[in-house]
Symmetry: C2
Subunit: 338 residues, 2 copies
């Protein structure tokens, strides 16, 4: 079984994102948001069958751990109440996808974050999504300001109420920024990768996993710059008299395989233990074209993983075993849907 | 000849950085800064002979392109006038090092940047350092706010007056952030690497090198996350209908080899053409320890480069040829000192 741990609903029916525009416009003008649009099951089916499901089948993957469009989370827009309404709407749509295609998608929720608003505010929506919808994880944005980095780092006690709930519910978080509103950053280029690198470094210099030994983070996009600079991070940790990185972080931190060329994938598999790598493609997402050097889609990451010199056991971990372990609610969900 | 294009004066005599503390304290209290401290040639010699020069000799490199301590630039501290006084002091010290050890060090200046102050303000100091001191380049900070990213991206016309002067003087810039004052970032971990990745992406999405075909940037720390995600950047450029990255950027953008483990160096050499890689170690800098996996210093980058499957011609480019080309004033300086 091949589990893709990183997919977003980037193909949702048009009226969903249109409502978001109206919601934010209304908020700016001090009006109430319009009622949510009707979206039929057929529209949802069409948006998936022609998109993610088609690519799953073409590429030979089985299940996508599926969450709302990451750039669309837009935690810098509006306020806590608009974030709550938007998160609720997005998560409900994910639930509908997972209900219509239970063998192909398992849900992960976005959180109703807002810059400067306590993450405590996210607990109710997380509980709802896990307990009512059967979601298996959440996406946590380490920079709800959208590129100005105004919230405390992930190791700060500011985030602890949310972590307590995550541990209680036994769900991990993918640490994933959203759209950059700072013109210094390109959303899917520098901002995503920088968010990953910053998040890893924040974990490294904190007591987070001492305080929450059961907390699990997936750092997407192959871990940002981290595996490429694994020697730098090993050396920095050593200079800071920290334990070696495997001991300090690798019980809790995992990297996905959203790296869009073979040399990058080779590096990832060379420096990060197979126990800490989860297969993912971020499809349909940041990069949508065909690589002229290979003739295949950049984000068809299975093609790279197939070429890595992995043992059968390690490949199974990357494709399936690690996901079942990092998302502890996933096995029961898979068993339930057959 | 082996040229290390990235060294900072991290070992300067104590009174130099002590004066900086006093200068900033005085600025906060509205007082004038105290007079600059006396620093003898013997003190400078000692700071270099026991540090960078010793390591050059031990490691078998010949010349370091040498600039003020990067984290110490602190463009977020004080204002334009404190930045000017500090840059002047730091650059003068670099000049004294290069005068005392002309065959071992060539100078690169820091610029008197301040968040929100036009880069036009840096022109006089750049001219002074190039014309009076014989410096061969400058360090340009893309985020003088220290991690809040408040200045326009590097492709913005805001920076053009400085670029015009760089092209006129025929000097490149290493794009190098300084200390992070934002608690979200670790200075030499995430902030440096994120600055590199952001700078590359800013260049990619701008008309910068159309407007300045002769402008040259060195992206340090192996290019941040960029080579590891070269497929992602190739794909993003293609999706944006931009020319291929080699055509778009590689006449103007170069990466150094400050990557502190062999797998990272292998990746760099695999995906970036040899014409665009400059040998560097960042010594004595971010990582100072010995890698227990190899028994050698993490930042002894020559040991990694020696192990790469490079042709003699490519190795010569990386060690020497590219530096002579990217720093066009370097050959004359080298000839002058024999």
């Amino acid at each position: 079984m091949i589990i893709d741990c990183h997919g977003h609903y980037t193909t949702s029916p048009r009226q969903h994102e249109a409502w978001r525009q109206e919601q934010i416009a209304a908020h700016k003008e001090g009006r109430s948001a319009p009622p949510r649009p009707a979206i039929s099951d057929d529209e949802i089916r069409a948006s998936i069958e022609g998109g993610q499901l088609k690519l799953q089948q073409e590429r030979g993957t089985d299940l996508t751990i599926f969450s709302p469009r990451a750039a669309g989370m837009g935690h810098h827009l509006g306020d806590a109440s608009t974030s709550e309404a938007w998160a609720t709407a997005c998560n409900e749509l994910i639930h509908r996808v997972c209900t219509l295609f239970p063998r192909n998608f398992a849900g992960v929720c976005m959180l109703p974050q807002s810059a400067g608003v306590s993450p405590r505010n996210c607990i109710a929506e997380l509980e709802r999504c896990v307990n009512q919808y059967g979601f298996v994880g959440c996406n946590l944005n380490p920079d709800p300001s959208g590129g100005y980095w105004q919230d405390p780092p992930l190791g700060d006690r500011y985030w602890y109420p949310l972590y307590e709930k995550m541990v209680e519910l036994d769900v991990p978080a993918m640490i994933h920024v959203s759209m950059a509103c700072n013109p210094a950053f390109h959303t899917t280029g520098s901002h995503y990768l920088n968010g990953d690198t910053a998040a890893f470094n924040q974990c490294m210099t904190s007591n987070l996993f001492k305080d929450f030994p059961g907390l699990k983070f997936i750092i997407p996009h192959g871990g940002g710059a981290v595996p490429y600079h694994w020697g730098r991070f090993r050396g920095l940790a050593q200079d800071m008299k920290l334990p070696p990185l495997p001991e300090l972080l690798l019980h809790n931190v995992f990297f996905d395989t959203c790296v869009y060329h073979l040399p990058g994938q080779e590096l990832l598999a060379k420096v990060i233990p197979a126990d800490n790598i989860l297969f993912a493609s971020e499809m349909i997402g940041a990069v949508r074209g065909v690589d002229p050097e290979t003739g295949y889609a950049f984000d068809d990451t299975k093609r790279y993983v197939e070429q890595l010199p992995l043992s059968a056991g390690d490949r199974q971990k990357i494709y399936e075993g690690n996901a079942r372990r990092v998302y502890p609610r996933l096995p029961a969900r898979l068993a339930a849907v057959g």
